[in-house]
């Protein structure tokens, strides 16, 4: 049980870190830029919200299969298979939780008053300075919400990680899958315990999200 929990936590943590780095430029582009294919990008980012996780997992599996281009490239570099591995699960999790990271950041960036951005420009700040000194501090709540939601959502994955990871004990068997197998094997007390832990993690994460949102409303968007 602890082993599967540890894998889940590890997966959620790595996925969240990758997502924060990946989602920021995506959220920036979607918040401020108009370009060809913008709608398509927005739809692709939001797809995991409505797509059955098994469908996403199936396509990721096809994409990283040992005989696919990506699978072969991975094998050539790391000398190991991407399918049914922890790394494969990270890739799938990143795609699966992408909207949970992008959308809060996109909203936070979009809600920065234009007058603030124009102030920064006319004060002579470069893009990098504006990003670090204005946009990120102003969108801090959105970034934290993105992190909390990505983490919680990854912890709760089932279909995608089962498809891509294959429930290998000690490697890709995460807590949610372990729980399913416990129930299947009638290990009631362990199932009860694991379910409670997963519930607590989700509860804490959502509490964080709601606390940040309330503080954001009180402080940030005043004047």
């Amino acid at each position: 049980m602890l082993e599967s929990l540890f894998i889940s936590l590890q997966l959620a943590l790595i996925t969240t870190i990758i997502l924060l780095l990946l989602a920021l430029p995506l959220a920036y582009a979607l918040a401020f830029k108009s370009f060809r294919g913008r709608t398509v990008l927005e739809v692709v980012v939001a797809l995991p919200l409505v797509l059955p996780p098994t469908v996403l997992g199936y396509y990721v599996l096809l994409m990283i299969a040992p005989d696919s281009a990506m699978g072969r490239a991975w094998n050539a570099v790391f000398d190991t298979s991407l399918a049914f591995s922890f790394s494969g699960m990270v890739l799938a999790s990143v795609l699966y939780s992408l909207p949970f990271a992008v959308q809060p950041m996109q909203q936070a960036l979009r809600s920065i008053p234009v007058s603030w951005l124009e102030m920064a420009i006319t004060q002579g700040l470069s893009f990098r300075q504006t990003l670090l000194q204005l946009m990120l501090p102003a969108a801090k709540g959105g970034v934290l919400v993105a992190a909390a939601l990505s983490f919680a959502h990854t912890m709760g994955e089932f279909g995608v990680v089962l498809m891509v990871g294959g429930s290998i004990p000690g490697e890709t068997k995460v807590a949610s899958i372990a729980l399913f197998e416990m129930v299947e094997m009638q290990q009631q007390s362990e199932a009860w315990m694991l379910a409670l832990i997963l519930l607590a993690v989700s509860f804490v994460m959502l509490s964080v999200v709601y606390t940040i949102n309330r503080q954001g409303l009180q402080m940030g968007m005043g004047k």
Binding site: P113, S115, W116, E118, M119, A120, I121, T122, Q123, G124, L125, S126, Q129, Q133, L134, P137, A138, M219, G220, G222, K223
Partner: protein, 224 residues
């Protein structure tokens, strides 16, 4: 000398401004929607008009050559209707926002002149609108800009402090020897500050300094 020769369309407003000026204090007046703010935004590089802008020996805009100097490189000092103070920074940090090094002597001088020394460590949410406006004035001058663009910078100030602020701005303009374009509806601003007075109507300048001197001479003559 500085030269403005621009045209631009903003919805129903056709802005068309052709003017030359030295490093003077210029008051821009006119009715709502006459194009005062649009003119300032064109100068600030927040809009892309057609034509030419030249400040001193620097070309800011030459649309025939497809050149529009980014706002960041224009060394501007601006006060807009929204003070745009960042709520997570203290007043002092807001004033020095974006500056590379802190010049505490200059900071103190500005804080004194704009009567905000007691507010420096406060957060913007604790300020009145008038105080926010004075902080934004101090911020606009902190980096010693090459041009000062002020859009109704005294609109939230009580009458008593306006006069002190006028004298303070007049002194700073002389000290820095830069052009100041200030949008104002207050006749006292024009009387006390204007070395040139531009009156705008429907996107065009109607009055220049020469016209104003002429008309004031006539007025005085009439009264005698």
């Amino acid at each position: 000398m500085n030269h403005i020769q621009i045209t631009a369309s903003f919805g129903s407003l056709d802005l068309q401004v052709d003017a030359s000026f030295a490093n003077q204090f210029i008051i821009v007046s006119g009715e709502n929607g006459a194009g005062k703010t649009s003119l300032l935004r064109c100068l600030a590089g927040l809009e892309s008009p057609r034509g030419m802008l030249q400040l001193g020996d620097k070309i800011w805009l030459d649309s025939s050559a497809g050149f529009n100097l980014p706002a960041q490189q224009r060394q501007l000092g601006c006060v807009w209707p929204d003070a745009a103070l960042l709520p997570w920074l203290s007043v002092e940090k807001n004033i020095v926002f974006g500056a590379d090094a802190v010049n505490s002597q200059w900071l103190l001088a500005l804080a004194t002149q704009f009567e905000i020394t007691a507010l420096m460590q406060r957060q913007p949410c604790m300020l009145s609108t008038g105080e926010m406006q004075r902080v934004s004035l101090a911020r606009s001058l902190y980096r010693k800009p090459a041009v000062l663009l002020l859009d109704e910078p005294f609109s939230a100030q009580a009458p008593a402090i306006r006069q002190r602020l006028r004298l303070c701005l007049k002194g700073l303009q002389a000290e820095l020897a830069i052009p100041v374009l200030m949008v104002s509806h207050d006749g006292a601003d024009a009387r006390i500050l204007a070395q040139q007075h531009w009156h705008m109507r429907a996107g065009k300048l109607l009055l220049s300094l020469a016209d104003m001197q002429e008309s004031s001479r006539k007025n005085k003559g009439g009264k005698r």
